[in-house]
Symmetry: C2
Subunit: 209 residues, 2 copies
Amino acid sequence: MTVPGLLIIISGPSGAGKGTICQSLLQHRPDIFYSISATTRAPRDGEQDGINYYFKSKKEFEEMLARDEFLEWARVYDNYYGTPRAPVTEAIAAGKDVILEIDVQGAMKVKEKAPEGVYVFIVPPSLDVLRTRIIGRATDSMEIINKRMNKALGELSKLYEYNYVVINDVVAQAVNKLECIIEAEKCQSQRYRFVPDGGVQATLIVPKS
Amino acid sequence: MTVPGLLIIISGPSGAGKGTICQSLLQHRPDIFYSISATTRAPRDGEQDGINYYFKSKKEFEEMLARDEFLEWARVYDNYYGTPRAPVTEAIAAGKDVILEIDVQGAMKVKEKAPEGVYVFIVPPSLDVLRTRIIGRATDSMEIINKRMNKALGELSKLYEYNYVVINDVVAQAVNKLECIIEAEKCQSQRYRFVPDGGVQATLIVPKS
Protein backbone atom coordinates (compact mmCIF):
# COMPACT_ATOMS: atom_id res chain seq x y z
CA MET A 1 0.00 0.00 0.00
CA THR A 2 1.87 3.02 -1.29
CA VAL A 3 0.83 6.47 -0.18
CA PRO A 4 0.48 8.59 -3.33
CA GLY A 5 2.87 11.49 -3.84
CA LEU A 6 1.89 15.10 -4.30
CA LEU A 7 1.47 16.95 -7.58
CA ILE A 8 3.14 20.29 -6.99
CA ILE A 9 2.68 23.00 -9.58
CA ILE A 10 5.39 25.66 -9.48
CA SER A 11 4.16 28.57 -11.52
CA GLY A 12 4.34 32.32 -11.84
CA PRO A 13 5.01 35.06 -14.36
CA SER A 14 8.22 35.00 -16.34
CA GLY A 15 10.88 36.82 -14.35
CA ALA A 16 9.61 35.40 -11.05
CA GLY A 17 12.55 32.97 -10.91
CA LYS A 18 10.64 29.67 -10.82
CA GLY A 19 13.40 27.87 -12.75
CA THR A 20 16.10 28.80 -10.24
CA ILE A 21 13.86 27.77 -7.35
CA CYS A 22 13.02 24.39 -8.91
CA GLN A 23 16.68 23.62 -9.60
CA SER A 24 17.63 24.44 -6.03
CA LEU A 25 14.70 22.42 -4.63
CA LEU A 26 15.74 19.38 -6.67
CA GLN A 27 19.28 19.62 -5.27
CA HIS A 28 17.82 19.44 -1.75
CA ARG A 29 15.26 16.82 -2.66
CA PRO A 30 16.63 14.51 -5.39
CA ASP A 31 13.74 12.14 -4.59
CA ILE A 32 11.30 14.56 -6.26
CA PHE A 33 10.26 13.73 -9.82
CA TYR A 34 10.64 16.69 -12.14
CA SER A 35 8.14 16.53 -14.98
CA ILE A 36 9.76 16.99 -18.41
CA SER A 37 7.80 18.66 -21.19
CA ALA A 38 7.45 17.37 -24.71
CA THR A 39 8.03 19.70 -27.65
CA THR A 40 8.22 19.66 -31.41
CA ARG A 41 10.82 22.42 -31.57
CA ALA A 42 14.36 21.43 -32.54
CA PRO A 43 16.86 20.77 -29.73
CA ARG A 44 19.20 23.68 -29.03
CA ASP A 45 22.93 23.19 -28.48
CA GLY A 46 23.53 20.91 -25.52
CA GLU A 47 19.86 20.01 -24.99
CA GLN A 48 19.25 16.31 -24.52
CA ASP A 49 16.14 14.26 -25.20
CA GLY A 50 14.56 13.06 -21.95
CA ILE A 51 16.52 15.59 -19.87
CA ASN A 52 15.61 19.06 -21.14
CA TYR A 53 12.60 17.97 -23.18
CA TYR A 54 11.11 14.97 -24.85
CA PHE A 55 11.75 15.95 -28.45
CA LYS A 56 8.93 14.75 -30.67
CA SER A 57 8.07 15.06 -34.34
CA LYS A 58 4.92 16.96 -35.20
CA LYS A 59 3.30 13.65 -36.16
CA GLU A 60 4.23 11.98 -32.85
CA PHE A 61 2.93 14.96 -30.88
CA GLU A 62 -0.35 15.03 -32.77
CA GLU A 63 -0.83 11.31 -32.20
CA MET A 64 -0.30 11.86 -28.48
CA LEU A 65 -2.83 14.71 -28.63
CA ALA A 66 -5.34 12.43 -30.33
CA ARG A 67 -4.88 9.87 -27.53
CA ASP A 68 -5.40 12.66 -24.88
CA GLU A 69 -1.96 11.97 -23.44
CA PHE A 70 -1.26 15.50 -22.19
CA LEU A 71 -2.06 17.11 -18.86
CA GLU A 72 -1.86 20.41 -20.74
CA TRP A 73 -0.48 21.54 -24.07
CA ALA A 74 -0.13 24.66 -26.18
CA ARG A 75 0.82 25.61 -29.66
CA VAL A 76 3.33 28.48 -29.80
CA TYR A 77 3.74 29.72 -33.35
CA ASP A 78 4.72 26.59 -35.29
CA ASN A 79 5.64 24.38 -32.35
CA TYR A 80 3.76 22.28 -29.81
CA TYR A 81 4.65 22.12 -26.13
CA GLY A 82 2.95 19.86 -23.60
CA THR A 83 3.14 17.94 -20.34
CA PRO A 84 2.83 14.18 -20.92
CA ARG A 85 0.37 12.80 -18.39
CA ALA A 86 1.63 9.22 -17.95
CA PRO A 87 5.06 9.90 -16.33
CA VAL A 88 3.35 12.23 -13.84
CA THR A 89 0.54 9.88 -12.80
CA GLU A 90 2.90 6.90 -12.63
CA ALA A 91 5.35 8.73 -10.37
CA ILE A 92 2.53 9.91 -8.07
CA ALA A 93 1.10 6.38 -7.85
CA ALA A 94 4.58 5.12 -6.93
CA GLY A 95 4.62 7.53 -3.98
CA LYS A 96 6.86 10.16 -5.51
CA ASP A 97 6.21 13.88 -5.29
CA VAL A 98 6.08 15.47 -8.71
CA ILE A 99 7.09 19.02 -9.63
CA LEU A 100 5.55 20.71 -12.64
CA GLU A 101 7.33 23.96 -13.53
CA ILE A 102 4.95 25.80 -15.76
CA ASP A 103 3.74 29.23 -16.86
CA VAL A 104 0.48 30.70 -15.54
CA GLN A 105 -1.59 29.78 -18.59
CA GLY A 106 -0.38 26.18 -18.42
CA ALA A 107 -1.01 25.98 -14.69
CA MET A 108 -4.61 27.06 -15.20
CA LYS A 109 -5.07 24.25 -17.74
CA VAL A 110 -3.52 21.68 -15.40
CA LYS A 111 -5.85 22.87 -12.65
CA GLU A 112 -8.88 21.89 -14.73
CA LYS A 113 -7.63 18.31 -14.97
CA ALA A 114 -5.88 18.05 -11.60
CA PRO A 115 -7.57 20.34 -9.07
CA GLU A 116 -6.11 18.17 -6.27
CA GLY A 117 -2.62 19.51 -7.06
CA VAL A 118 -0.74 21.92 -4.82
CA TYR A 119 -0.56 25.19 -6.72
CA VAL A 120 2.35 27.43 -5.74
CA PHE A 121 2.67 30.93 -7.16
CA ILE A 122 6.24 32.22 -7.33
CA VAL A 123 6.29 36.00 -7.44
CA PRO A 124 9.07 38.56 -7.78
CA PRO A 125 9.70 40.68 -4.69
CA SER A 126 9.03 43.95 -6.54
CA LEU A 127 8.16 45.53 -9.86
CA ASP A 128 11.77 46.75 -10.09
CA VAL A 129 13.17 43.27 -9.71
CA LEU A 130 10.65 41.91 -12.20
CA ARG A 131 11.69 44.53 -14.78
CA THR A 132 15.40 43.87 -14.19
CA ARG A 133 14.90 40.13 -14.60
CA ILE A 134 12.84 40.54 -17.77
CA ILE A 135 15.41 42.95 -19.25
CA GLY A 136 18.33 40.89 -17.97
CA ARG A 137 17.55 37.88 -20.05
CA ALA A 138 16.14 39.54 -23.11
CA THR A 139 17.93 41.12 -26.03
CA ASP A 140 14.66 42.56 -27.14
CA SER A 141 13.26 46.00 -27.83
CA MET A 142 11.57 48.15 -25.19
CA GLU A 143 8.28 47.40 -26.88
CA ILE A 144 8.69 43.67 -26.28
CA ILE A 145 9.98 44.24 -22.74
CA ASN A 146 6.95 46.40 -21.90
CA LYS A 147 4.68 43.76 -23.41
CA ARG A 148 6.26 41.13 -21.15
CA MET A 149 5.92 43.43 -18.13
CA ASN A 150 2.22 43.96 -18.82
CA LYS A 151 1.71 40.24 -19.30
CA ALA A 152 3.50 39.56 -15.99
CA LEU A 153 1.34 42.13 -14.19
CA GLY A 154 -1.81 40.54 -15.61
CA GLU A 155 -0.63 37.13 -14.46
CA LEU A 156 0.07 38.38 -10.94
CA SER A 157 -3.65 39.06 -10.57
CA LYS A 158 -4.20 35.26 -10.75
CA LEU A 159 -2.96 35.07 -7.17
CA TYR A 160 -6.09 33.43 -5.77
CA GLU A 161 -6.05 30.63 -8.33
CA TYR A 162 -3.11 29.28 -6.32
CA ASN A 163 -2.96 27.68 -2.88
CA TYR A 164 0.29 29.28 -1.86
CA VAL A 165 2.39 32.33 -2.61
CA VAL A 166 6.16 32.31 -2.34
CA ILE A 167 7.86 35.68 -2.77
CA ASN A 168 11.19 35.00 -4.42
CA ASP A 169 13.50 37.50 -2.78
CA VAL A 170 16.28 35.29 -1.38
CA VAL A 171 16.32 31.98 -3.27
CA ALA A 172 17.35 29.84 -0.28
CA GLN A 173 14.46 31.22 1.76
CA ALA A 174 12.00 30.68 -1.07
CA VAL A 175 13.17 27.06 -1.44
CA ASN A 176 12.84 26.54 2.30
CA LYS A 177 9.26 27.80 2.14
CA LEU A 178 8.55 25.43 -0.73
CA GLU A 179 9.94 22.50 1.26
CA CYS A 180 7.73 23.51 4.18
CA ILE A 181 4.68 23.69 1.94
CA ILE A 182 5.36 20.12 0.76
CA GLU A 183 5.89 18.91 4.34
CA ALA A 184 2.75 20.66 5.59
CA GLU A 185 0.64 19.31 2.72
CA LYS A 186 1.71 15.83 3.80
CA CYS A 187 0.39 16.57 7.29
CA GLN A 188 -3.08 17.58 6.06
CA SER A 189 -5.62 15.56 8.00
CA GLN A 190 -7.51 14.48 4.85
CA ARG A 191 -4.43 12.47 3.93
CA TYR A 192 -4.87 10.31 7.06
CA ARG A 193 -7.37 7.85 8.41
CA PHE A 194 -8.11 6.48 11.86
CA VAL A 195 -7.77 2.70 12.36
CA PRO A 196 -9.63 2.00 15.62
CA ASP A 197 -9.30 -1.77 15.23
CA GLY A 198 -5.63 -1.65 14.37
CA GLY A 199 -4.61 -3.99 17.19
CA VAL A 200 -2.11 -3.26 19.93
CA GLN A 201 0.94 -2.94 17.69
CA ALA A 202 -0.76 -0.91 15.05
CA THR A 203 -0.39 2.71 14.22
CA LEU A 204 -3.74 4.31 14.90
CA ILE A 205 -3.61 7.18 12.46
CA VAL A 206 -2.17 6.11 9.15
CA PRO A 207 -1.65 7.87 5.82
CA LYS A 208 -4.34 7.11 3.25
CA SER A 209 -3.14 4.91 0.44
CA MET B 1 0.02 48.01 9.14
CA THR B 2 0.83 44.86 11.08
CA VAL B 3 0.12 41.49 9.53
CA PRO B 4 -1.84 39.49 12.13
CA GLY B 5 -0.23 36.40 13.60
CA LEU B 6 -1.64 32.89 13.46
CA LEU B 7 -3.70 31.17 16.13
CA ILE B 8 -2.26 27.67 16.31
CA ILE B 9 -4.13 25.08 18.34
CA ILE B 10 -1.93 22.18 19.44
CA SER B 11 -4.23 19.45 20.60
CA GLY B 12 -4.56 15.70 20.89
CA PRO B 13 -5.39 12.95 23.37
CA SER B 14 -3.48 12.79 26.62
CA GLY B 15 -0.38 10.68 26.05
CA ALA B 16 0.16 12.14 22.57
CA GLY B 17 3.01 14.28 23.87
CA LYS B 18 1.70 17.72 22.97
CA GLY B 19 3.39 19.31 26.01
CA THR B 20 6.86 18.08 25.01
CA ILE B 21 6.34 19.24 21.44
CA CYS B 22 5.18 22.71 22.51
CA GLN B 23 8.14 23.17 24.84
CA SER B 24 10.56 22.19 22.09
CA LEU B 25 8.83 24.42 19.55
CA LEU B 26 9.07 27.40 21.90
CA GLN B 27 12.80 26.82 22.31
CA HIS B 28 13.18 27.05 18.52
CA ARG B 29 10.75 29.90 18.17
CA PRO B 30 10.88 32.12 21.29
CA ASP B 31 8.94 34.74 19.29
CA ILE B 32 5.79 32.62 19.58
CA PHE B 33 3.30 33.60 22.26
CA TYR B 34 2.26 30.66 24.42
CA SER B 35 -1.23 31.13 25.79
CA ILE B 36 -1.43 30.61 29.56
CA SER B 37 -4.59 29.17 31.09
CA ALA B 38 -6.42 30.57 34.07
CA THR B 39 -7.49 28.25 36.89
CA THR B 40 -9.06 28.37 40.30
CA ARG B 41 -7.11 25.39 41.57
CA ALA B 42 -4.35 26.05 44.11
CA PRO B 43 -0.78 26.40 42.77
CA ARG B 44 1.33 23.26 43.18
CA ASP B 45 4.92 23.38 44.43
CA GLY B 46 7.01 25.54 42.14
CA GLU B 47 4.11 26.77 40.01
CA GLN B 48 4.14 30.51 39.41
CA ASP B 49 1.29 32.87 38.62
CA GLY B 50 1.52 34.13 35.05
CA ILE B 51 3.96 31.38 34.06
CA ASN B 52 2.25 28.04 34.67
CA TYR B 53 -1.23 29.46 35.10
CA TYR B 54 -3.04 32.63 35.95
CA PHE B 55 -4.25 31.66 39.40
CA LYS B 56 -7.66 33.16 40.10
CA SER B 57 -10.14 33.01 42.92
CA LYS B 58 -13.49 31.46 42.18
CA LYS B 59 -15.07 34.90 42.36
CA GLU B 60 -12.56 36.40 39.92
CA PHE B 61 -13.07 33.52 37.47
CA GLU B 62 -16.84 33.80 37.61
CA GLU B 63 -16.64 37.54 37.00
CA MET B 64 -14.49 36.86 33.92
CA LEU B 65 -17.06 34.28 32.81
CA ALA B 66 -19.85 36.82 33.21
CA ARG B 67 -17.90 39.24 31.00
CA ASP B 68 -17.39 36.48 28.36
CA GLU B 69 -13.63 36.82 28.68
CA PHE B 70 -12.75 33.21 27.82
CA LEU B 71 -12.06 31.60 24.46
CA GLU B 72 -13.06 28.33 26.15
CA TRP B 73 -13.51 27.16 29.70
CA ALA B 74 -14.47 24.06 31.65
CA ARG B 75 -15.35 23.06 35.16
CA VAL B 76 -13.45 19.99 36.37
CA TYR B 77 -14.83 18.80 39.70
CA ASP B 78 -14.59 21.88 41.92
CA ASN B 79 -12.23 23.91 39.81
CA TYR B 80 -12.50 26.13 36.75
CA TYR B 81 -10.01 26.13 33.92
CA GLY B 82 -10.10 28.48 30.93
CA THR B 83 -8.23 30.32 28.18
CA PRO B 84 -8.45 34.09 28.63
CA ARG B 85 -9.29 35.64 25.29
CA ALA B 86 -7.64 39.09 25.56
CA PRO B 87 -3.94 38.07 25.69
CA VAL B 88 -4.51 35.83 22.65
CA THR B 89 -6.29 38.39 20.48
CA GLU B 90 -3.86 41.15 21.51
CA ALA B 91 -0.81 39.05 20.59
CA ILE B 92 -2.32 38.10 17.21
CA ALA B 93 -3.19 41.73 16.45
CA ALA B 94 0.43 42.65 17.27
CA GLY B 95 1.60 40.16 14.62
CA LYS B 96 2.63 37.38 16.97
CA ASP B 97 1.82 33.73 16.37
CA VAL B 98 -0.03 32.24 19.32
CA ILE B 99 0.12 28.62 20.49
CA LEU B 100 -2.81 27.16 22.41
CA GLU B 101 -1.94 23.80 23.95
CA ILE B 102 -5.25 22.23 24.79
CA ASP B 103 -7.16 18.95 25.10
CA VAL B 104 -9.55 17.76 22.40
CA GLN B 105 -12.72 18.94 24.13
CA GLY B 106 -11.21 22.40 24.66
CA ALA B 107 -10.02 22.57 21.05
CA MET B 108 -13.54 21.86 19.82
CA LYS B 109 -14.86 24.74 21.94
CA VAL B 110 -12.16 27.10 20.63
CA LYS B 111 -13.03 26.08 17.08
CA GLU B 112 -16.58 27.37 17.54
CA LYS B 113 -15.28 30.82 18.43
CA ALA B 114 -12.15 30.85 16.26
CA PRO B 115 -12.65 28.67 13.18
CA GLU B 116 -9.88 30.62 11.42
CA GLY B 117 -7.30 29.00 13.71
CA VAL B 118 -4.81 26.36 12.55
CA TYR B 119 -5.85 23.12 14.24
CA VAL B 120 -3.03 20.60 14.68
CA PHE B 121 -3.74 17.12 15.99
CA ILE B 122 -0.79 15.52 17.78
CA VAL B 123 -1.14 11.74 17.82
CA PRO B 124 0.92 8.95 19.37
CA PRO B 125 2.72 6.68 16.88
CA SER B 126 0.94 3.56 18.12
CA LEU B 127 -1.51 2.15 20.61
CA ASP B 128 1.45 0.60 22.49
CA VAL B 129 3.19 3.93 22.88
CA LEU B 130 -0.07 5.58 23.94
CA ARG B 131 -0.59 2.95 26.64
CA THR B 132 3.01 3.25 27.86
CA ARG B 133 2.73 7.03 28.07
CA ILE B 134 -0.59 6.90 29.90
CA ILE B 135 0.72 4.29 32.36
CA GLY B 136 4.09 6.06 32.64
CA ARG B 137 2.72 9.19 34.17
CA ALA B 138 -0.10 7.73 36.21
CA THR B 139 -0.01 6.08 39.56
CA ASP B 140 -3.54 4.94 39.01
CA SER B 141 -5.41 1.67 38.89
CA MET B 142 -5.88 -0.41 35.73
CA GLU B 143 -9.48 0.72 35.69
CA ILE B 144 -8.52 4.36 35.44
CA ILE B 145 -5.78 3.60 32.90
CA ASN B 146 -8.26 1.72 30.72
CA LYS B 147 -10.71 4.57 31.05
CA ARG B 148 -8.02 6.99 29.83
CA MET B 149 -7.13 4.66 26.96
CA ASN B 150 -10.75 4.50 25.83
CA LYS B 151 -11.09 8.25 26.10
CA ALA B 152 -7.91 8.70 24.02
CA LEU B 153 -9.22 6.29 21.37
CA GLY B 154 -12.50 8.17 21.18
CA GLU B 155 -10.61 11.43 20.80
CA LEU B 156 -8.47 10.04 17.97
CA SER B 157 -11.64 9.71 15.90
CA LYS B 158 -11.86 13.53 15.88
CA LEU B 159 -9.07 13.54 13.28
CA TYR B 160 -11.03 15.42 10.63
CA GLU B 161 -11.92 18.25 12.97
CA TYR B 162 -8.29 19.28 12.60
CA ASN B 163 -6.42 20.78 9.66
CA TYR B 164 -3.22 18.87 10.24
CA VAL B 165 -2.00 15.64 11.80
CA VAL B 166 1.45 15.32 13.33
CA ILE B 167 2.43 11.83 14.43
CA ASN B 168 4.69 12.23 17.46
CA ASP B 169 7.24 9.48 17.01
CA VAL B 170 10.55 11.41 17.12
CA VAL B 171 9.99 14.74 18.88
CA ALA B 172 12.50 16.72 16.76
CA GLN B 173 10.77 15.55 13.58
CA ALA B 174 7.34 16.37 14.95
CA VAL B 175 8.52 19.87 15.90
CA ASN B 176 10.03 20.35 12.46
CA LYS B 177 6.69 19.43 10.91
CA LEU B 178 4.94 21.92 13.16
CA GLU B 179 7.36 24.66 12.12
CA CYS B 180 6.69 23.79 8.48
CA ILE B 181 2.94 23.94 9.05
CA ILE B 182 3.32 27.45 10.48
CA GLU B 183 5.56 28.52 7.60
CA ALA B 184 3.22 27.03 4.98
CA GLU B 185 0.16 28.64 6.58
CA LYS B 186 1.90 32.00 6.20
CA CYS B 187 2.31 31.29 2.48
CA GLN B 188 -1.41 30.65 1.92
CA SER B 189 -2.57 32.84 -0.93
CA GLN B 190 -5.60 34.15 0.99
CA ARG B 191 -3.12 35.89 3.29
CA TYR B 192 -1.86 38.03 0.39
CA ARG B 193 -3.20 40.67 -1.90
CA PHE B 194 -2.13 42.03 -5.26
CA VAL B 195 -1.26 45.73 -5.47
CA PRO B 196 -1.33 46.54 -9.18
CA ASP B 197 -0.85 50.27 -8.59
CA GLY B 198 1.99 49.85 -6.14
CA GLY B 199 4.40 51.96 -8.14
CA VAL B 200 7.83 50.95 -9.40
CA GLN B 201 9.41 50.46 -5.98
CA ALA B 202 6.51 48.62 -4.50
CA THR B 203 6.11 44.99 -3.68
CA LEU B 204 3.32 43.71 -5.88
CA ILE B 205 2.06 40.89 -3.73
CA VAL B 206 1.88 41.90 -0.09
CA PRO B 207 0.61 40.16 3.04
CA LYS B 208 -2.88 41.22 4.09
CA SER B 209 -2.93 43.32 7.20
